[in-house]
Each structure stands twice: as C-alpha cells, then as structure tokens.
C-alpha cells in the first residue's frame, strides 16, 4: 500500500469534499477536513522520509507510463512543499472549528469545509504532479475554491476582492495555458521530464522563449510578484480568518515552487537564467516588491491589510533567492518560504482571534490590547519579530541564509533593499505594538478569553517558529535537499 502514497495524498482530501456536501453537518464536515489534512500530513511525512532515503518516487496514473499518461513525481524539491501545505491544513483545521462557527452562518459552514478540502487537494496536486497540463487543472481547482472561500468573508468588500482575484487569477491561468501550449507546439509533449529532455539545445527557438515568458507571467500572478500583486491585499484582508490563515501560509508558496519547478527542471537554468534575463528581472521585481510591499504595509489602518501587504514584500525576498539561481540562493528561498509560512499563518490566526473577541482589527480598535489580552499580544510580538527577522526567531535564520547567498554573488543593491524592507517591517510591526501597548484601553469589560482550540493553534505556530529560529536544522535540511534536487540535474 505504501506504493500508493503519492495518490492518496491528493485523493483523500478530494474524496472528503463531496462527503462534506453530502452529509451537510457542520461537525462532520469539520471532522472530514481534519481527517483529510491529517492523512495528507501522514502521507507527506512518509513520502519525505522515503525520498530522503531512496531518492525520487514516480507514480503512473492508471498505469499508463509517462509521457502517455500523467505521472506524479515526489522528489526533494516538492517534499518540503507537501509537508508545508498539509501541516498548514492541520493547523487551520484545529483553528477553524470555532473561528468558522463564529464568522459564517451555520448553513454555509459545510460548504466552506468542502472548499478547504478542495483547496488542499488542489495545492497538493499542483505540488506533486509531473505533467504541465495537469498542473493547470490543479491550479484551477485550488484557485476556484479559494475565490469561493474569499467571497464568504463578512463584509461586502469581500465580494469585489473575490471577483478581482477571479479575473486576475484567470488571466494568469490562461497565460500559463498559452505558455504550456507554446511549449507543447515545440515539443509535442506535456510531461515535465520529457519536455526537459526535448528542450535541450533549442535555446534560440523563439516560440520556446515566448513560452517561458507566458508561463512565468502567469505564475507571477499567482505568486503575487510585485506589479502583479494587486489582488492579494484585499483577498487576504477580507477572507474569513481560517481561510486567510491557510491561504496566506500556502497559496503563494506553492506557486513559487511551481515557478522553481518550471525554471530549473522543465525549461532548464541555462535557458531561463542564461539565455534569457529572468534572473535580473526577478531580482529587480523582488527589490521593488520588498520596498513597495513594506512601505504600503506601514500605511494601512487594518491589521489584516498590514499583514497582507507584508506578504507582498515577503514574496519579494523569496523571489530574490530563487533568482540568484545558486544552490545557496534557492536553499535560502525555500527556508524563507517555510519560515514565513509559519510566521504569517500565526499572525493571521492572531488577527482572527482579535476579530472574534474585539469585533474589529482596525488599529484604532486594538488600543490597550497588551493589557486586555496579554497572551495573545505576547504571541503577536513573537511572531511579529519573526517577520522583522530579529534573532532568535524563525525569520532571522532564513533572512541570514538569503543574505549569505546574496553576498556570495555580490548583489549589494538587493541586500540594501532587503535591509530597508526589514527596517520598514520593524516600523509596521512596531506601529501595531505601539497602539496595543501604549494606548489606553477603552472603558468596559475585558474581552472573553479566546477559545482554547484557536489559542492552541496559534501557540503551536509561534513555538514552532521559535524552535526553528533556535534550531533550524530540520527546515534547513529540507531546503538544502530541495535546492540539490532542483539544481542537481536537468530532468524532473
């Protein structure tokens, strides 16, 4: 049965989604989502361990060997992503029980859990597939379910946020489709490994170069790389808390992984970073993204928008690492991906608790939080410092790895942008802390204690980020293995 693990990873959440709709009980739906995420996590751990010992695993769907059928590939480059996505799902499941019950009307709750299952299945499928068109299909599954979940937000702004994300996201997906079509026209295949093999030596094929452009622009939309990030702040800011916790931890990260997969194992680094200037463009956009995102975060007056804009900046850090196209850079990018996921999920989860107990997360309404909800505030401070990158938090370890990689390649301007970004992060996190600690709390009774399950989820993430900050050996090992698998050889 262990041979079937790659497909179980995706099929179990997929199976749970229609069951949620069919059984239509809030509790059962939640239980199904929890079960789906736990199963995925178990599969992911098992797969990661297997891959670590024996190398890449391949699974042929329907027993049709690639390139005739679709195959799933598990290798060093996607095990960290699988672990990250399924772990985030487990945390989101624990967190969501009370949060969703408070934010949504009862009859829509099972639908939300069904969508969470679908989003989980979509993201896992996108991470594990070895076929470019299949990747498009899984991308659409995860996107469509995410649009639906965002539209379930409490305020009417959520509707427009979802609509805009839908339009921009679909344009991005269609760009990806055009790129895949052009690559298909040049090679006649859709399998990633087969594509890589047939593409070697056709670097000056103009259709292929255009394919690279379309695939990367399409993915850049999903990654929220700087000029294409416009959908992100409202989408994360308006979604139900459980959804923004899950999506902020996983959505853009999976897209970044797919970018790496295309860049290194499909098109090949010599084409993407050698013949075409993707590395220079990537570094430039990364710098702009870091500065613009961090600066915009300083001017928001809603905590969730602060966090969302900071995500735009953090994508910049990761893109900078990938664009270096060195082992150290890619490894640093993966490390930052993991660290930032944990930190940002914790912060969005905290925002959800505040929303539940204070009724608003506008900065003005957080006055005196430090005295009214000291533990939640403490969690915010630790996670916030992780965002800035203060030692010994998780953010420091990964930023240090990125800085080392940049210095190695003498990319001083990027380094300056990164430092400026970190200082700005200090400003926007500091602004929140200032309001929460130094402003007088409004009169009235102290808010109720937050539900235990939500607190448990938050502290799990916060403590995990502290642990990773002190002992980063596990994520660093995963990141190194990922970089080695991506840069080691051409084929996927």
């Amino acid at each position: 049965m262990t041979g079937q693990l790659p497909v179980l990873q995706v099929a179990v959440p997929l199976l749970c989604a229609p069951l949620c709709v069919l059984l239509r009980s809030r509790f059962v739906a939640w239980l199904l989502f929890l079960a789906a995420s736990l199963t995925s996590l178990t599969c992911a751990v098992w797969l990661a361990e297997r891959v670590d010992r024996t190398g890449a695993l391949r699974y042929a769907m329907g027993d049709w060997q690639a390139p005739y059928g679709i195959e799933f590939v598990v290798n060093g480059f996607n095990t960290p992503v699988l672990l990250l996505v399924s772990l985030s799902a487990v945390v989101a499941a624990v967190y969501s029980r009370r949060s969703v019950a408070a934010e949504l009307d009862d009859r829509r709750v099972p639908l939300l859990y069904a969508c969470l299952c679908l989003a989980l299945a979509g993201l896992l499928g996108l991470s594990i597939t070895g076929d470019v068109f299949n990747a498009f299909v899984f991308l659409e599954i995860s996107s469509l379910s995410t649009y639906t979940m965002i539209a379930m937000g409490r305020r009417r702004q959520a509707l427009l946020a979802s609509f805009r994300y839908l339009v921009i996201g679909t344009i991005g997906a269609t760009f990806l489709l055009i790129g895949i079509g052009l690559a298909y026209a040049v090679t006649g295949t859709l399998n990633m490994a087969d594509l890589a093999q047939r593409l070697t030596g056709s670097h000056d094929n103009r259709a292929l170069q255009a394919a690279v452009v379309f695939v990367f622009v399409g993915l850049a939309v999903k990654m929220a790389v700087f000029p294409l990030h416009a959908w992100l702040p409202a989408a994360y800011g308006e979604a139900p808390s459980a959804v923004s916790t899950f999506v902020a931890a996983t959505g853009t990260k999976v897209a970044i992984y797919v970018f790496c997969r295309f860049a290194f194992t499909v098109f090949g680094a010599s084409l993407v970073f050698g013949a075409m200037p993707v590395d220079r463009i990537g570094l430039l956009l990364a710098c702009l993204g870091i500065l613009a995102g961090s600066a915009a975060a300083c001017f928001q007056d809603d905590l969730r928008y602060v966090l969302a804009w900071s995500s735009v900046a953090q994508v910049g850090y990761i893109v900078a690492g990938v664009s270096l196209a060195t082992t150290a850079g890619v490894s640093g990018a993966y490390l930052h991906m993991i660290m930032h996921s944990v930190t940002k999920a914790a912060l969005f989860a905290i925002a959800g608790v505040l929303l539940l107990r204070l009724g608003s997360v506008r900065l003005a309404d957080l006055a005196g939080l430090g005295r009214r909800m000291p533990w939640t505030f403490a969690a915010f401070v630790v996670a916030g410092l992780g965002l800035v990158g203060v030692p010994p938090t998780a953010g420091f370890a990964s930023k240090w790895a990125l800085v080392t990689a940049l210095v190695e390649r003498d990319q001083w301007p990027v380094l300056v942008a990164m430092l400026a970004g970190s200082l700005l992060a200090l400003v926007y996190v500091g602004r929140v802390i200032e309001v929460a600690w130094f402003r007088e709390p409004p009169d009235g009774a102290d808010p109720l204690r937050p539900p235990a399950s939500m607190v448990a989820a938050i502290w799990f993430l916060v403590l995990l980020s502290l642990y990773f900050g002190i002992d980063a050996s596990l994520p660093a090992h995963l990141a190194d293995a990922a970089a080695a698998a991506l840069l080691g050889k051409g084929g996927g």
Partner: protein, 134 residues
C-alpha cells in the same frame, strides 16, 4: 509565412481583443465576456496545433488514413469546462455585488467603498475629539 501562419495570427488577434476587454472595461459583466473571448482564442490556438492537413476527426475507421491529433482536443475539452465553471462563479459574484452596491461598474463600486471608509474615519475622528474634549 502568411499562408502558413495567418490562422495562428487570427487566433492571437482574438485573444488580444478579449484581453483588452478584460483589462480596460470597467463593467464586471463585460469583463467576464471579454475573459471568455480571450479563452476561446487560446482554445482555437490549441486545436490548431493538432490539425493536420487532409486529416479527419480522430475517430478510428478503416477508410481514413490521416487523423488530426486527439490530445489538444482532450485538453481543450477540459479547458472549456474549466472556463464555464469560472464564468458561472464570476457571474454569481457579479449578482451579489449588484445586490450589495447597486451597480456592476467596478469604478462605482470602488468609489462607494472609499466614501464609506472616509465617512468611517471622520466619525472616528469626531468621536476621538469628543472624548478628548469632555
């Protein structure tokens, strides 16, 4: 070049017309119509890749020699379905936006949001002021 590529160019032109509508038009429904045009252009491009001169539909029979390629057709079947699913979700959102704002023009929706935000900020300022004064 023209004789062998004009078909592709027309498909590309269709994509561009659709893309222009999506980006430049502010009406949410028109945007969705544009999105469909854009996607249809891409569908045609894929199907064009599988076409073979003198071929026929890839349904095997004894009296046919050459067939067009079935794979792009399968891909586009999937893509059409994905497209209509997206359209349905987009339209449902547009209906809800109309109910919430009374309009389906993006600019007007944004304007209403920003007036609401400004009013809220003013109220807050006023409340703060009162609090300080008393």
């Amino acid at each position: 070049m023209i004789a062998s590529h004009y078909v592709y160019w027309t498909f590309f032109a269709l994509m561009l017309i659709g893309l222009y509508v999506v980006i430049s038009h502010g009406n949410l429904l028109k945007k969705l119509i544009g999105l469909s045009l854009f996607q249809v252009g891409v569908f045609l491009f894929y199907i064009g890749l599988g076409k073979q001169d003198g071929g026929s539909a890839p349904i095997i029979s004894d009296d046919v020699e050459t067939y067009s390629h079935p794979l792009p057709q399968v891909l586009i079947l999937t893509a059409i379905v994905v497209g209509v699913a997206t359209l349905a979700v987009g339209l449902a959102l547009a209906v809800r936006i109309f109910e919430a704002y009374g309009t389906v023009e993006e600019d007007e929706v944004l304007e209403r949001d920003s007036t609401e935000r400004l009013a809220e900020r003013d109220r807050e300022r006023a409340a703060e002021h009162d609090g300080g004064g008393s």
